[in-house]
């Protein structure tokens, strides 16, 4: 899994390619946490290049949400495709995390 981090002041943007399942979840969590802990407040998941996600992915997002909340930050999702949207909706994630169609929109919401 290819992970890219972009920094916008106190917001960390995480973008990764491929399929988010149990197999890659632990590795992804570890890399995001390591980067986030270098002094960020907010977290944006850019899901544009994620073509598959199951409930292990929801677990990754909920886990990061808990950590970011401790720092009074926000977690938002950007560019989820229809398969991802379906599982995000079913999980109830939308009640605590907002979804946007662009990074610009997401950054404005911070």
């Amino acid at each position: 899994m290819d992970i890219k981090f972009t920094k916008k002041t106190n917001t960390l943007i995480v973008k990764f390619d491929g399929e988010l399942d149990h197999h890659v979840a632990d590795q992804l969590k570890e890399k995001i946490d390591k980067e986030y802990n270098t002094g960020f407040k907010n977290l944006i998941f850019d899901l544009k290049n994620v073509n598959f996600m199951d409930s292990s992915g929801i677990g990754v997002i909920i886990g990061r949400y808990k950590k970011v909340k401790e720092k009074n930050g926000k977690v938002v999702l950007v560019n989820a495709n229809s398969q991802l949207n379906k599982i995000i909706e079913i999980s109830g994630l939308m009640r605590i995390i907002k979804c946007y169609n662009s990074i610009e929109e997401a950054l404005k919401s911070m």
Binding site: E19, D21, H22, H23, A25, K29, F52, D54, S55, S56, I58, G59, V60, I62, G63, S82, Q83, K86, I87, I90, S91
Partner: protein, 143 residues
Amino acid sequence: MEYSNMMELKFLSKSQNESFARTVIAAFAAQLDPTIEDIADIKTAVSEAVTNAIIHGYGNKINLITIKAFINDHTITIEVIDEGKGIEDIEKAMEPLFTSKPDEERAGMGFTVMQTFMDELDVESEPGKGTRIIMKKQIQPYK
């Protein structure tokens, strides 16, 4: 079971086989002319069932998982079978957000996803013997 086509696959309960399993089932289901959404639903449900077998059935120990798929008319039936520790209380395991491993950041949604993405879900399990998950989905012929 009456069917016009079937397949069976056995693989080790390694997490890298999760994507292998869902890809194989998606390829087998393709003969029903499913929509992209149908395929995404099937892949997600299979991924959840196989992940459950790896994490809960075998507790991350390496053993064999069997997947069978049957096609009859426009319906695909998928079975995911492990010979792991089984589920003590199936009803409880199927409750949304229930997880037996809260420290591992599991969403506790596996069965909810399988139920939502497929038309039918049956879970047969015996503690100490294993678990068989049976899922069905009807594919409307693509026009």
